[in-house]
């Protein structure tokens, strides 16, 4: 079982993840239409690039925009969650060892205590975001079961990984569960709302170009995000 989930299944999951994201990117860009979107993407490109870069960068920084600043707690936990989600799996010692064994390449890793801390933070932020969905009426109304499911899908590899690492009873079960949950997350990214993994950047770039080219970007210093 272990060989299967770390072998063919892992290949499949990574394959779907990478190819899926490439397909999403290509389809997104192909589906842009200067006339329908009313943005001349390929004219005044320098303004478009500047608008896109501003639109992405301001939002990538915690508290970089009005909206982030208006919602300080949400912003804190959203950034903590995303940083944990991205950094922990890539820079985890255990993952690195696996890579080194199969590919002969490795890289810098997080001290294990820090990785543990990040894992806990991811779980805490998921709990915060779940409670927020329940507590705030304006969020509750628009929340669907799918939104909760995605939070579970995102948190599951961290919870199972944490249990396996800390040698919870039945290590074998937890490590297999962890690997499968990780693979589910990888596969889910291109097919669900988690596709914002790339679509965040594309969608932000698009609106940035809209503002940069058409909605005033050629007459001012750029929209105050």
């Amino acid at each position: 079982m272990y060989e299967f989930v770390t072998g063919p299944l892992a290949w499949l999951a990574f394959g779907i993840f990478f190819i899926g994201l490439i397909v999403r990117t290509v389809l997104y860009i192909k589906g842009l239409d200067w006339k329908l979107d009313r943005v001349t993407y390929s004219v005044n490109t320098s303004y478009g690039v500047r608008g896109a870069a501003r639109s992405i960068l301001f939002w990538l920084f915690p508290y970089g925009t009005h909206s982030w600043r208006n919602n300080p707690w949400f912003t804190l936990w959203v950034f903590v969650m995303h940083i944990g989600l991205l950094l922990t799996p890539i820079f985890l010692l255990g993952h690195n060892i696996l890579f080194k064994e199969s590919w002969g390449v490795g890289w810098w890793t997080l001290p294990e205590g820090v990785a543990d801390f990040f894992t806990i933070l991811v779980v805490v932020s998921v709990i915060f975001l779940t409670l927020r969905r329940i507590a705030l009426p304006e969020v509750r109304l628009i929340t669907t079961a799918y939104d909760y499911l995605l939070l579970v899908v995102a948190a599951a590899p961290f919870i199972t990984g944490f249990l396996a690492y800390h040698r919870a009873p039945d290590y074998y079960f937890w490590i297999i569960a962890h690997i499968i949950c990780g693979e589910i997350l990888l596969v889910a990214i291109p097919f669900t709302k988690l596709s914002h993994f790339v679509l965040f950047f594309l969608s932000r770039a698009q609106l940035g170009m809209d503002y940069g080219i058409k909605r005033g970007g050629m007459k001012n210093k750029g929209i105050a995000w």
């Binding site: 389809l27 997104y28 860009i29 192909k30 589906g31 842009l32 239409d33 200067w34 006339k35 329908l36 979107d37 009313r38 943005v39 001349t40 004219v43 005044n44 639109s55 939002w59 009005h66 909206s67 982030w68 208006n70 919602n71 949400f74 959203v78 969905r133 705030l136 009426p137 304006e138 969020v139 509750r140 109304l141 628009i142 929340t143 669907t144 939104d147 709302k193 596709s195 914002h196 679509l199 965040f200 594309l202 969608s203 932000r204 698009q206 609106l207 940035g208 809209d210 503002y211 080219i213 058409k214 909605r215 005033g216 970007g217 050629m218 007459k219 001012n220 929209i223 105050a224 995000w225």
Partner: protein, 464 residues
């Protein structure tokens, strides 16, 4: 009854059809017929498949339902934070469902969409600034209005408006003759006070081609005279076109994209005919948005630009004050606290925030910007055509509360509102809420403040 006599999927292209609609007071019969209007599901889904592409598809798909858009929406705030006013909810329950059901929807659903797209969203696009994914619900509602229009689900006044543009190339029944006569009349009316004042019509190669909102010749002709006076004092070489003088677009509010194209092409035609160096649009927000910002796309101009460079009136005013073409008499500057209504259409959606502040720095001693302001300012409450739609008057009036409170918080009793819709909304707000404020376009304020060179003053003594 699949199609009504007045409410149907056909566009209005003749004066007779317009008359028939106008004769139906308040659209009583029109809305009654709407209750029986069939949805052409095949056509609806066909249009969606052709026009609903990755940008909007992605917006609807990746919305993570975080609710950050809630507080960005003035309707949400004005309606005691009703969760049903959250932009995400409003768009998912209308356009989102329409897509999910592949256009398989009924009359009641379409009417719900219409009520939401007009009475719960003015397409101010403020929410787009607050969404981490850059989801612009205002743009989607505008798109939805287009789908609704093609199916005949459009408020009575907007159907009339679209017909006006089709028949008169103006949002009101102002013909070329009416327009030119009004210009002549205004020039005559004011030339005693302003010797040498003219309103040159169809003059080729002028520095400025000036274009207006049809309400001006129809209801406020003095606005045209005021524009003429200011151009006159500033020594501008300017003209108005006899055809293609109208900048507004109720067709844009109503989602009649074909009429939008017809309307802006009339203006672009005037540009090509008269070859002015540039065009200046009157103090109207959506007119500028329609003709200068969106128009080139409707007309298929690949540069995304109007045939000659185009400016909003506030840009011309700022330039005239900056360069000294117009000089403010320091003793006549506005002394009392004064605020400025940043219009969504030329500030958020066209980037002129600095210009507005620059003008206020020249003309006001105690300028108090609203909070929030500039690109983040709230819609006046009357945008997106809402001021003109009787069916949604109640909802509009509730929405005005946000602007009322913003104005009250500045302590100013005078609001400068260089946008017809904002101006109307603020006027109506005063009528509904009676907070004791005054409001004004820039032109009348400027005329009372500028230094008039001796040679432009009436020579009364010599005449006597």
């Amino acid at each position: 009854m699949p199609e009504g006599k007045l409410c149907n999927k056909k566009t209005i292209n003749t004066k007779e059809e317009l008359q028939a609609l106008l004769a139906d007071k308040s659209g009583k019969q029109y809305y009654e017929e709407m209750n029986h209007l069939d949805v052409d599901r095949k056509k609806l889904w066909g249009t969606i498949q052709k026009s609903f592409k990755s940008r909007m598809k992605t917006w609807l798909e990746i919305c993570s339902h975080c609710g950050l858009c809630a507080e960005s929406c003035f309707y949400y705030l004005a309606n005691n934070k009703d969760p049903e006013q959250v932009p995400s909810y409003k768009i998912q329950s209308t356009l989102g469902q329409l897509i999910k059901r592949k256009g398989d929807v009924d009359n009641a659903f379409m009417q719900m969409c219409m009520d939401t797209a007009y009475a719960k969203c003015t397409c101010c696009t403020r929410c787009g600034l607050y969404c981490p994914f850059g989801i612009d619900t205002g743009i989607m509602f505008s798109y939805l209005r287009g789908l609704l229009f093609a199916q005949g689900f459009v408020p009575w006044e907007m159907k009339i408006g679209s017909g006006m543009h089709r028949v008169y190339r103006a949002q009101m029944d102002v013909t070329v003759e009416d327009w030119v006569d009004t210009c002549d009349w205004m020039a005559e009316e004011y030339e005693d006070d302003w010797p040498g004042l003219t309103i040159p019509v169809d003059q080729e190669n002028a520095d400025i081609m000036y274009t207006v909102n049809a309400r001006e010749p129809k209801h406020y002709p003095e606005d045209i005279a005021e524009a003429a006076i200011l151009f006159h004092v500033a020594g501008e070489n300017w003209t108005v076109p006899s055809e293609g003088w109208e900048e507004t677009s109720l067709a844009m509010f109503g989602g009649d994209w074909e009429a939008c194209k017809m309307q802006v092409e009339a203006v672009y035609g005037a540009m090509e005919r008269l070859k002015p160096k540039r065009m200046v649009v009157t103090e109207c927000g959506h007119a500028y948005r329609a003709t200068v910002i969106e128009g080139p796309y409707w007309a298929g101009l690949k540069t995304g630009k109007t045939p000659v460079e185009s400016f909003h009136y506030v840009e011309w005013v700022a330039e005239a004050l900056r360069t000294g073409k117009l000089k403010i008499d320091p003793s006549k500057k506005i002394k009392e606290p004064v605020t400025y209504q940043d219009s969504c259409n030329y500030i958020r959606n066209a980037g002129l925030a600095d210009i507005a502040q620059e003008i206020m720095s020249y003309i006001a001693e105690d300028f108090r910007p609203m909070t929030p302001n500039r690109e983040h300012n709230f819609c006046c409450g009357g945008g997106g055509g809402l001021n003109g739609i009787g069916r949604y008057r109640q909802q509009r009036n509730i929405g005005l509360k946000v602007k009322r409170d913003q104005i009250l918080a500045t302590g100013a009793k005078l609001v400068v509102a260089p946008c017809h819709n904002c101006w109307d909304a603020i006027r109506d707000m005063e009528e509904v809420y009676k907070i004791g404020i005054r409001w004004s376009f820039l032109k009348p304020l400027l005329i009372n403040m500028i230094e008039v060179p001796e040679h432009l003053k009436p020579q009364e003594e010599e005449a006597a």
